[in-house]
């Protein structure tokens, strides 16, 4: 089947999509957007988190056909050209990136949190990131990154 959707502000079309295919597969393999990572394929790890109509979801759990006519924003759509989004820059500056595999999902989840709660408490950050697994760090630097981004948001 054919799926049309808006991805990062652009109208995109994917052809020959299998009916049981996930949005994640369409983004990575058909539209050339490998930012969202494919790890667990069961919604456990959060590495594939994208915005679907402004709501963060696991792209692996959205059937491609369910994205027809909808708006998707991936981690690639957060930066403004070469200028990183403040959340992305904070992950770099706080050293919250190790192997980098979980980073795109964490960045989208953190981006959404700061959109809703500009000055989150530690508990709110932990709850917001509870669906994102990282196998390298102890999460401390990730928490630091979100707090740094919050501070920068407050300064901006």
């Amino acid at each position: 089947m054919r799926v049309n959707m808006t991805v990062n502000g652009e109208q995109r079309q994917a052809d020959d999509v299998w009916e049981g295919e996930s949005l994640l597969y369409v983004l990575r393999e058909r539209l050339g957007l490998p930012g969202s990572k494919n790890a667990c394929e069961q919604g456990e790890c959060g590495s594939c988190t994208v915005y679907l109509d402004a709501v963060p979801v696991c792209a692996c759990l959205v059937a491609a056909g369910q994205a027809q006519g909808r708006e998707v924003r991936t981690v690639e759509g957060l930066a403004d050209g070469d200028r990183l989004d403040p959340v992305q820059q904070s992950f770099v500056d706080a050293g919250a990136v190790q192997c980098g595999f979980c980073t795109p999902g964490l960045v989208v989840a953190a981006h959404d949190l700061l959109d809703r709660v500009p000055e989150p408490s530690d508990e709110e950050i932990r709850e917001a990131l509870a669906g994102n697994l990282c196998r390298c760090t102890g999460y401390e630097k990730i928490l630091d990154a979100v707090k740094l981004a919050a501070t920068r948001g407050a300064d901006a």
């Binding site: 009916e19 049981g20 069961q42 919604g43 979801v57 696991c58 759990l61 959404d112 669906g131």
Partner: protein
């Protein structure tokens, strides 16, 4: 495989009547896992996310009608005060990403013994609205769960809504998991006070082939509260009453030993959850009575 996208409920029902093998999909948090892992290859997927009325809720005459497609996040944000028990259960589901997609309708469709919302639906006396081209019928939650991942739905029916009491009476939900997030219940417990009926609702999850009401415990506690006139003048509950309530809840379970916990642990844990949730709910009831005076 086909991907069917009905725009209206009548359209969806006629598709389901013609194609009973079509698998309904809303949040996709269960169905997509089965597809991704090659556990299931249905002849068709019936996408329900295009049907606006399934994603709506309304409150009328003391009842909240919750559309089967309302995601947990919206339930928590918009109905936390009206449906406190269900909102508490919803808050324990998966992660924010999962709660943004998952629905009570999906929980009912999957009918897993461990589904988080089931004990609350049973304790509050919820009814489930199902529809087909033959018409609409309403099934009491306690008649809905037939076996492990089996429910009372006919092949041509779709779950359209859940009706729950719109009440200020205290409700509680508690769940044991090995961590705070992204975890399936080892066991869970829902409690609802129904002061206007002089009755307590209580139900367990993950400790029998289906979620089920704790009838003996309900009858015991309802009797104690009514006989002692505690609904009208809510004194603190005697420890012996809370303990007996917990024991009766544990006795009403049929748990299994599995990777998540032993049967003995589940029984014990449920007696503790029952006692604790009763303590919290009763404390809230007493506080509410005082503030009215």
């Amino acid at each position: 495989m086909e991907f069917l996208r009905p725009a209206t409920l009548p359209e969806a029902l006629s598709v389901k009547a013609e194609r009973p093998g079509a698998v309904p999909i809303a949040g996709g948090t269960d169905v997509m896992v089965e597809l991704n892992f090659d556990h299931r290859r249905p002849e068709a997927l019936l996408d329900l996310t295009g049907i606006a009325e399934l994603a709506e809720w309304s409150a009328e005459d003391g009842t909240v009608r919750l559309g089967a497609g309302v995601p947990y996040t919206r339930l928590i944000e918009q109905l936390g005060k009206r449906l406190p028990g269900l909102a508490m259960a919803a808050r324990t589901v998966g992660s924010p990403q999962i709660r943004n997609r998952g629905t009570v309708g999906g929980n009912l469709g999957a009918a897993s013994p461990a589904g988080d919302t089931h004990p609350v639906l049973l304790a509050t006396g919820a009814t489930i609205e199902v529809a087909s081209v033959r018409g609409t019928r309403t099934i009491a939650a306690e008649d809905f769960y037939l076996g492990v991942k089996r429910n009372a739905l006919e092949p041509d029916e779709l779950i359209t809504a859940v009706n729950l009491p719109d009440t200020k009476a205290p409700q509680q939900f508690s769940k044991i998991g090995t961590r705070n997030a992204m975890v399936i219940a080892v066991c869970s417990f829902g409690l609802a006070l129904h002061p206007e009926q002089g009755r307590v609702g209580a139900a367990i999850g993950s400790a029998a082939p289906t979620p089920r009401r704790s009838r003996a415990a309900e009858d015991f506690l309802s009797g104690e509260l009514t006989d002692a006139g505690l609904w009208e003048s809510p004194e603190p509950l005697r420890d012996s009453v809370c303990r007996r309530f917990g024991e009766l809840v544990a006795e009403g379970t049929e748990p299994i030993d599995d990777v998540r916990g032993s049967a003995a642990y589940r029984k014990h844990a449920l007696s503790v959850l029952a006692r604790r949730t009763l303590g919290w709910a009763w404390q809230e009831y007493r506080a509410g009575e005082r503030s009215c005076a």
